[in-house]
Subunit: 253 residues, 2 copies
């Protein structure tokens, strides 16, 4: 089944992912597995056909059977709040697990949609559960993943409840950078996968406010944004703003 190095076997069993060769295997679930355990894990997961932009992975009516690992691309989760009104509650980046909220039963709390072309590994939760009984490292890693999600939500709570719009957006940008760094990309130069509308919905701010803030941040030389390409020019100052400091004026040329 599993194979040493090359892509040769990928063609042979195109529906199976292979964790051994996955660029993200140091972030994803099998993190702590020994090589032979990895094969057991590898055997239960399935590579799905990539989702295209705007396609939905699951919604509240989807019965819960799988969790997913993002291999590349990104997704958003939206929860219907009032009629017609949706909030973006979460963004998923490469190496992150999707669908853990569904384990509790009673369906998924929201709709999860691809923001761009997105490849996922599909992991049947029943088999993951059984395997986790046999592999302590896997089990603990799964506990850790869920725990980290809870912890991250606590920090997010701080950012949302923290007053100013400036602080929220600054914190959001830094968090994105941090998460891109986790999957091997730059923490200071990246491409926003989501629209300003999504950012606004996520942070509880109007689109116009997001737009104005980005302009103001650029004037203050905190970051540079062209279309959706972002460069964080002064992460420390952004961190200060996220904690409530005022926007310092730009050095002025």
């Amino acid at each position: 089944m599993t194979v040493p190095t090359a892509d040769s076997d990928i063609k042979a069993s195109p529906m199976h992912a292979h964790c051994q060769t996955c660029r993200l295997n140091s972030l994803c679930l099998p993190l702590a597995l020994r090589l032979d355990d990895l094969e057991d894990f590898d055997a239960i997961i399935r590579r799905r056909a990539p989702l295209k932009r705007g396609e939905t992975l699951l919604d509240p009516r989807t019965p819960f059977h799988h969790v997913f690992a993002v291999r590349c691309g990104s997704l958003k989760q939206q929860v219907v709040h009032a009629e017609g009104e949706e909030r973006v509650t979460h963004f998923y980046l490469p190496g992150e697990l999707v669908g853990l909220e569904g384990v509790a039963g009673d369906g998924h709390p929201g709709t999860i949609t691809a923001l761009e072309t997105t490849a996922l590994c599909e992991i049947p939760f029943d088999r993951l559960d059984v395997l986790s009984a046999q592999l302590p490292a896997l089990r603990r890693e799964l506990y850790r993943c869920m725990s980290r999600d809870i912890r991250d939500d606590r920090y997010l709570h701080c950012r949302l409840a923290g007053h100013t719009a400036e602080a929220r957006l600054a914190g959001f940008m830094l968090d994105l950078g941090y998460r891109f760094q986790r999957c091997g990309l730059s923490a200071t130069r990246f491409r926003l996968p989501m629209s300003r509308i999504d950012i606004g919905s996520h942070l509880g701010l109007a689109v116009e406010t997001i737009s104005r803030l980005i302009s103001r941040f650029q004037q203050a030389e905190l970051l540079h944004v062209a279309r959706r390409e972002v460069t964080l020019l002064a992460p420390e100052r952004l961190a200060g703003i996220a904690r409530g400091a005022p926007i310092g004026e730009r050095a002025d040329a």
Copy 2:
């Protein structure tokens, strides 16, 4: 201490809790365990001396070894956001698990403090982990607990990012009632364990705003509050407000 009828060994080991006789055993971790499995679980947990109001259970420097189940009383979690400024990120009520954010390592994200006299069961996570390998029902219940926390945080996100202060407070009150109901109390009549200051910090609103809103809700006959005793008079209308509806005027006598 509490036990009338059954096992004689209970007096022998007063520091051990006994899940079989716990009023909350239908909510807490052993939910799905058979009686003999329950004894295994029972053997690893320890009843702690109750915390008094204001005493802290753990803080970011506490090494992670245990999770806790609230037997009675309540706690709050605070995370330092900016210097000197703290946000209340979570309240813990009876039957809920405390400390799951710590599993991921790198310490707990905040300080957890008792809001009133609070009794807890202390569960060593290492032993829980090992036991969960042997008891599928326990393992799945643990997954479920963590999953539910994540899901609840998504809903909380909606409430926080949803605009008006009215909607936030209405949603908060309903959520509290729902959680009290889960542990066998009334969903519409309960005692607030936390101060208005804590509520404000949790919802990202000024204390004054909380106070004014409570007054306004009372005028509209949505609820009745005396000191910290709350009666929800019109839960459906509150639910409407939480979704963004305006406050209807009171029927007027």
